[in-house]
């Protein structure tokens, strides 16, 4: 059955792959973007929205509700990195990443769940990260924000389970995206060496986990953290 899907940060990378995967299976898909809309947005409703701004989030949802209907599947993917070692990390470097990745997730989930409650159906999927469980030198802010999504997701899962709303986290390992392209060759090799499956994920492989959790078949799965990390986080997640 065709659902109304919103993917935040759906203009590139994992978000765009998710948006395309949902569109390909016949869902009505909206994406939000902060900077530039995707080059090829065929069939996707693109709405500008900075998830650190509660009013922008509200306006974006209202636009989507008016055009496509209430959001039934929310993929909270919008996020940023600001990598640096803790001793170099200012308070603002820490807070800004938390605001975008974690509080942003709270903003969109809270706005979405009101309509899901009335409909007595909902799927919320947060895009976390393997480093949220393992930690990563240079990513204290990012890892903290992604770990925080787990507590948020599970609390939401408990609060809204009675309305048939499932809330889960997909935790990717390293993925072939722009966000990763900035990484040096040495670091890249080191990471590929550390991953048991010996490579990075494609964005489609993350999208596959997301569309599964959003499906009717996954209706009994809630509060989980699903790693899609080539085995990298085994034991930590």
């Amino acid at each position: 059955m065709s659902r109304v899907v919103l993917v935040t940060g759906g203009n590139r990378g994992i978000g765009l792959a998710c948006a395309r995967a949902f569109a390909a299976q016949g869902d009505s898909v909206a994406i939000t973007y902060r900077g530039e809309p995707p080059a090829d947005a065929d069939g996707l409703l693109c709405v500008r929205c900075d998830v650190t701004d509660t009013e922008q989030v509200d306006a974006a949802f209202t636009e989507i509700e008016t055009t496509l209907g209430p959001v039934e599947v929310l993929v909270s993917n919008a996020g940023m990195t600001a990598d640096m070692l803790v001793l170099r990390m200012g308070i603002e470097d820490f807070a800004s990443v938390l605001d975008a990745n974690l509080t942003g997730g709270f903003r969109v989930a809270k706005r979405a769940v009101q309509k899901m409650m009335r409909a007595r159906f909902g799927r919320i999927i947060f895009i976390g990260s393997v480093v949220g469980s393992t930690g990563q030198a240079g990513q204290a802010n990012y890892a903290a924000s992604k770990a925080g999504l787990i507590g948020l997701a599970r609390s939401l899962a408990r609060e809204f389970a009675s309305r048939s709303i499932t809330v889960n986290v997909v935790a990717p390992g390293p993925v072939e995206t722009d966000m990763f392209a900035a990484v040096s060759d040495d670091t890249r090799s080191a990471i590929e060496g550390a991953v048991p499956l010996g490579r990075l994920a494609t964005p489609d492989e993350i999208a596959a986990a997301v569309t599964f959790l959003a499906s009717d078949a996954a209706g009994y799965i809630t509060g989980v953290v699903l790693p899609v990390d080539g085995g990298l986080g085994m034991g930590a997640t």
Binding site: Q114, M117, R118, E159, F160, S162, R163
Partner: protein, 78 residues
């Protein structure tokens, strides 16, 4: 207490809690009589805020167990 206001209140309760209008009496207890869980109450408060154009603070909801108490709370703000 205005009958019109109570009719408005009843309509919200019927819509949100999926109960019949005659179940919504002043003495009706949300949990025991109307089978409303905490999420139902949040939904009801949101609907009442919209319909009565008032704003209810989280702290004011404490101790609200009956229809009568909720009705008093909401109408006292108008």
């Amino acid at each position: 207490m205005s009958d019109e206001a109570f009719e408005k209140f009843k309509a919200c309760a019927v819509k949100v809690l999926s109960v019949s209008a005659d179940q919504v009496t002043m003495d009706a207890r949300f949990a025991e009589d109307l089978d409303a869980d905490s999420l139902d109450l949040v939904e009801l408060v949101m609907e009442l805020e919209e319909v009565f154009d008032v704003s209810v603070d989280e702290s004011e909801l404490e101790g609200i167990e009956t229809v009568g108490q909720a009705f008093e709370l909401v109408t006292s703000k108008q």
